[in-house]
């Protein structure tokens, strides 16, 4: 446990001492802020029209009109930015030669992986928490429904946790950060959009594809539904890639 904490705090210090964390977090906030602003403006126009025409006001609410599209966009920004956060985790150690030290220290592989994974997850939690400003702004000026916003954030957090696990795994495969980042991006994107193929596939395959999709599982979170099925999906995916990372560390000893 002490050793895990030593690795965790070193990684966290790395993120916040180098400009990595600040760069990723600020770019994330600029982009998500832009989406929030433009979606909110659009919603504004819609609601003004609704007041004039008086006919589709029933469909208009802040969760469906603002927060759900904003969170959908955030998930796409995450897809691009989280690989940049995770690509260095293990690849950099391999490049620098510290990987050999790490594997010859009396530290278990799970402590190493947990320390690294959770440090990236912490940075992610910080940047996601900063976007809570948007629903808070809505609450100041209007009266949005709170529970669907919270469950949407839970969904975003779990989705990011899976992205980071995928990133940790690909970082453990190579000493080249670019390859780690690009592979993470590719696989994460595939998980995000795999559901699009569902309507064209046969009945069994279609169910499989849509159940594999990040977006399908995120959908219910953003509607305010917390389903154990969806939580299990993200946790399983995260655990699966962490497991693969551990296997990869072990096999690094045999392959090198």
């Amino acid at each position: 446990m002490r050793k895990f904490l030593a690795i965790y705090s070193r990684e966290l210090r790395y993120y916040f001492r180098s400009i990595t964390a600040y760069a990723v977090i600020s770019i994330f906030l600029v982009l998500s802020g832009y989406f929030f602003f433009s979606i909110f403006r659009f919603y504004n126009v819609l609601s003004l029209q609704a007041i004039k025409n008086n006919d589709f006001s029933g469909n208009l609410n802040l969760v469906d009109g603002v927060m759900r599209p904003v969170m959908g966009n955030i998930s796409v920004i995450l897809l691009i930015l989280l690989p940049l956060l995770t690509m260095r985790l293990i690849a950099e150690e391999k490049k620098q030669g510290t990987f050999e030290l790490l594997l010859t220290l009396p530290v278990s592989d799970p402590a190493v992986v947990a320390g690294k994974y959770l440090s990236a997850l912490t940075v992610y939690a910080v940047m996601l928490a900063a976007t809570l400003l948007y629903p808070v702004l809505l609450m100041v000026f209007a009266d949005p429904e709170i529970p669907p916003v919270l469950s949407g954030y839970l969904g975003l957090f779990l989705m990011g946790a899976s992205f980071i696990a995928i990133g940790t795994f690909f970082s453990s495969l190579t000493s080249n950060q670019l390859i780690a980042g690009v592979s993470t991006f590719g696989v994460s994107l595939l998980f995000l959009i795999i559901g699009w193929a569902a309507p064209l596939a046969g009945p069994v395959m279609s169910a499989v594809l849509s159940e594999l999709s990040f977006l399908v599982h995120f959908e219910s979170f953003s509607k305010g539904v917390i389903d154990t099925k969806d939580i299990t999906y993200y946790l399983f995916l995260t655990g699966f890639f962490i497991f693969l990372t551990l296997r990869s560390l072990e096999s690094a000893r045999w392959r090198s």
């Binding site: 002490r2 050793k3 030593a6 690795i7 070193r10 790395y14 001492r17 180098s18 620098q96 030669g97 510290t98 990987f99 050999e100 030290l101 790490l102 594997l103 010859t104 220290l105 009396p106 530290v107 278990s108 000893r253 045999w254 090198s256």
Partner: protein, 314 residues
């Protein structure tokens, strides 16, 4: 303390180490010597539990490197060929980090950091970022992290590589000091280094153990002939002096290597078991040739090394 039995390592179909067996006693400073690609680094990586051996076994302090790898790792300090440094960290911070991972108890971390900073002369760069240090200081930080937990066994892979001559001398002195109260294994392809620092040498070539002994014994055993240099007056003609030297019993060859105004230097080869200096002096002086210098040349470890490695090839 260390027992290695029939250790082998394949990288795919390439055999890096084959059938290596040796023993290291407590308190010894052992050198691995060999050309590049001889298997020194691979052997060290196996002993430090980084690479699993393809076959054979090794025990360190009675712990098997495969089954009780954690126990071995706790008691070993290791400096890989490439210094394992986090360039974004400060020296003190890095050493404390490694100490924590080495399992040094929390209340002893600062004292062990102090100890290794002291031993490696890092006081002046304690708060500097590792990335900004010179190569020599970085190498010292590498050694400092290896001794941070006061290990019984220290494994150093080419500790002086890439350093300037002054730094090399410093690091050698440091290793000699460290070797006083612990076991050290180091590798090198710099021969004088091994000669100076190590009590015993293992010569490796193409993954095979070629010879193992103290540098002195290796020299003695492998000596094919003895070389003596004589500088004597050239008055009376060199032919005369050279003939006198050639006529001494046991001399197998005489060659003039240098000529000054009134003296010549000869290189004399003779059988390894007899020192001819006494006889040479008597013969020259009794022949009336003034003798300026007479010295016997030690066979350097370099010669032995080249001899062993080329013999292996033939």
């Amino acid at each position: 303390m260390i027992q290695v039995e029939d250790l082998s390592k394949f990288y795919g179909s390439v055999q890096a180490v084959s059938g290596l067996s040796f023993e290291v006693k407590k308190g010894e400073v052992l050198g691995f010597l060999g050309p590049n690609g001889a298997g020194k680094t691979t052997t060290m990586k196996m002993l430090t539990c980084y690479l699993p051996p393809s076959s054979g076994r090794a025990t360190i302090f009675g712990f098997d490197i495969m089954k009780d790898s954690m126990e071995v790792r706790k008691r070993t300090g290791y400096l890989p060929e490439k210094s394992p440094l986090y360039t974004d960290m400060r020296v003190g911070e890095y050493l404390a980090f490694v100490a924590r991972l080495r399992g040094v108890p929390g209340d002893r971390i600062s004292s062990s950091v102090e100890m290794s900073v002291e031993a490696c002369g890092l006081g002046s760069v304690f708060v500097k970022s590792i990335g900004h240090l010179s190569k020599g200081f970085q190498q010292r930080v590498g050694i400092a992290q290896a001794i941070i937990h006061d290990p019984e066994l220290l494994i150093l892979d080419e500790p002086t590589i890439g350093l300037d001559p002054k730094q090399i001398i410093d690091i050698r002195r440091l290793i000699t000091n460290l070797g006083k109260d612990r076991t050290v294994i180091l590798s090198s392809h710099i021969l004088p280094e091994v000669n100076q620092v190590c009590g015993r040498v293992i010569i490796l070539d193409k993954g095979r153990l070629v010879a193992v002994d103290t540098p002195d014994n290796l020299r003695e055993k492998l000596r094919k002939f003895r070389v003596t240099f004589v500088t004597a007056a050239s008055s009376g003609g060199n032919v005369g002096t050279q003939d006198i030297l050639g006529g001494i019993g046991g001399v197998t060859g005489v060659r003039e290597t240098a000529r000054e105004k009134d003296a010549s230097t000869f290189r004399i080869e003779s059988a390894p078991d007899r020192d001819l200096r006494n006889e040479i002096a008597v013969r020259l002086v009794s022949a009336g040739v003034p003798l300026f210098e007479l010295r016997s040349e030690e066979m350097s470890l370099e010669d032995i090394f080249i001899q062993l490695v080329t013999e292996e090839k033939n």
